[in-house]
Amino acid sequence: MYIRGQAIGTTAMKRLGTILMALVLVAALAAIPLGATAALADNGEDNSNDNADAAENNSVEPGEQLTGVVGVQDAEIDGEVSDRTFGIKVANAASDEAKADIVGDRLDEIEQQLEAHEAELEELDEARENGTISEGEYRAEVAKITAEKANTERAAEQAGATAGELPEDVLEERGINVEAIQELQENASELGGPETAEIAQSIAGENVGNGVAGDFEPGPPGGIPGDDAADASSDDGDDDEDEDRGAGNNSADQRP
C-alpha cells in the first residue's frame, strides 16, 4: 500500500506539479496587467494629491508656468548669443577707439533695455492690481523679464570690464564713464527688488538668467586676426569667459 501509494503519489505529484506550475505562471501573467493597473491607479491618486497641493501652494497654473519657462529659456539663449557676439566684436576690433565705440553702442542698448524692463514691470504691477491679469500670468511675465534683466546686468558688467581696459582719454572722447557703467549694472540688479527674483525662481528654478556654462573664447571669425585683434582676442577672451559670462548686446533678435 505504501509502495503503490508512493507510485500513485509520484504520478499525482508530477501532475500536481504541472498544474501548480501552470497556475503560478498564469497568476504571474495575470498579475502583470493588474500590477500595472494598480500602479496607474496609485499614480492617479498621487497626481490628484499633487494637483491639490499645487492648487494650495502655487497660484500658477501649469499653462501659465509653461509660458514663463518658454520666455526664460528664450531670454537665456538670447543672452548667451549676445554675450558671445559682444566678445567677438571687441576681439575683432583693431584699435582701442574701435573697442570704445563698441562699448558706447552697448551702453546705449543697456540704457534702453533698462528703461524697457522698468516700464514692463510697472505695467505688470498695474495689471495685477487692476485684476487685468491673473497672478500666474503676472509671475510668468516677471520671470521672463527677470531673465532679460539678468542679461542686461551682465552686459553692463562686461561693458564695464572692457571699458576698464581702455585708455581714459579714448573713453572721455566718447563720454564713457566706467563708474556710470557700474551704476547701470547696479540699477539693473536692483530693478524690481528681491521679489522679482523669488517670483522667477518659483516659475523656472534657481538659475533664471544665470549665464550658460560653456567653453567659449571670442576671436575673429575665420581665424584671420590682425596682430591687435589677436592680442585682444586672447586678453578679452579670458576676461569674457571668467567674468562676463552672459553679457551681450541682445542683438540676435528672436523671431516672434
Partner: protein
C-alpha cells in the same frame, strides 16, 4: 523531444512578439525654421515636447557667435538640463509625478545664413491620456498657456484628430497647429487611435489575430496564456 518542442514553441512565441511589437517612439520635431512648440504624441500617450526658437542673425559676428554656441557642448548641456528641470516642474504642477515623467532631454542647434535655430526637447511620459481608442491631450496647454509661437501637434502615424476644443489653423492630417496668439484656455484635443499605424502593422503581421491590442506590445496576455497552456498540455502528454 519534450524539451526540443518547448524550445521551438518558445522561440516561435518570442519571435512573434518581436515581429508584431508596434514601432512606438515619438518623433522629434523635424528640421524647421519656424518658431514653435511641437508635440509629437505616441500611441501610448507619451510625447516628445520641443521648443523651437529662431534667431535672426544680422551680421557675421552674430553668425559666428551663434555657431560657437552650436559647437559648445558644455553650453548646450547646460541649456538642455535647465529646460528638462523646468519642464519637470511644469509636469509636477500639472499633476504628473515620477522620476521618469520628463526624460530624454536633448538640444539641437543649427544655423543657416541669416538665422539660427535652437530646438530643446524632452520626452513627457503619458502626456496624453488613453481613453479607450482615443488619446486625450489637455495640460499643460489648457490653463493659461500663452502662445507666442505656433503650437504644432503630431499624432501617431495613421491616426486622425477626432475633436479639438479650439479650431486649428492648420489640419493637414499629419498634424494640427494653432497660430501664435491663439487663446487656448480649456484646450482639449482628442486623437482617434482606430486607424493608427500600430494597428495596421499588427493586422499585417498577424492576420489571424485581429483583436491584438495596440497598447500591449507583442501577442498580448491572452495569446501568451494560450501558448503557455499549449506548452504545458504537450508537456503533460509527453511526460504522462
Amino acid at each position: 523531444m519534450y524539451s526540443r518542442l518547448v524550445v521551438a514553441i518558445v522561440a516561435v512565441v518570442l519571435a512573434g512578439s518581436l515581429v508584431v511589437t508596434p514601432a512606438a517612439g515619438a518623433t522629434a520635431v523635424e528640421n524647421t525654421d519656424e518658431p514653435m512648440v511641437h508635440v509629437a504624441v505616441d500611441s501610448d500617450g507619451d510625447a516628445t515636447v520641443s521648443l523651437v526658437s529662431v534667431y535672426d542673425l544680422t551680421d557675421d559676428d552674430e553668425q559666428a557667435a551663434f555657431e560657437s554656441v552650436a559647437e559648445d557642448e558644455e553650453a548646450q548641456g547646460d541649456m538642455r538640463d535647465r529646460f528638462a528641470d523646468r519642464m519637470e516642474s511644469v509636469a509636477e504642477n500639472a499633476g504628473y509625478e515620477g522620476e521618469d515623467v520628463i526624460d530624454d532631454s536633448s538640444v539641437e542647434i543649427h544655423s543657416e545664413e541669416g538665422h539660427g535655430v535652437v530646438t530643446l526637447s524632452v520626452s513627457w511620459g503619458s502626456l496624453a491620456e488613453i481613453d479607450g481608442e482615443t488619446l486625450v491631450l489637455t495640460e499643460p496647454f489648457a490653463s493659461g498657456f500663452e502662445l507666442d509661437r505656433q503650437l504644432v501637434i503630431t499624432g501617431p502615424d495613421g491616426t486622425a484628430i477626432e475633436s479639438a476644443s479650439h479650431d486649428p489653423d492648420v489640419d493637414d492630417g499629419a498634424h494640427v497647429s494653432w497660430d501664435a496668439g491663439t487663446d487656448l484656455d480649456g484646450f482639449e484635443l482628442t486623437i482617434s487611435l482606430e486607424d493608427s499605424e500600430s494597428d495596421t502593422v499588427t493586422e499585417t503581421e498577424s492576420e489571424d489575430d485581429e483583436e491584438t491590442a495596440d497598447e500591449v506590445p507583442g501577442f498580448g496576455i491572452g495569446a501568451a496564456l494560450v501558448a503557455l497552456v499549449a506548452i504545458l498540455g504537450i508537456g503533460a502528454r509527453l511526460t504522462g
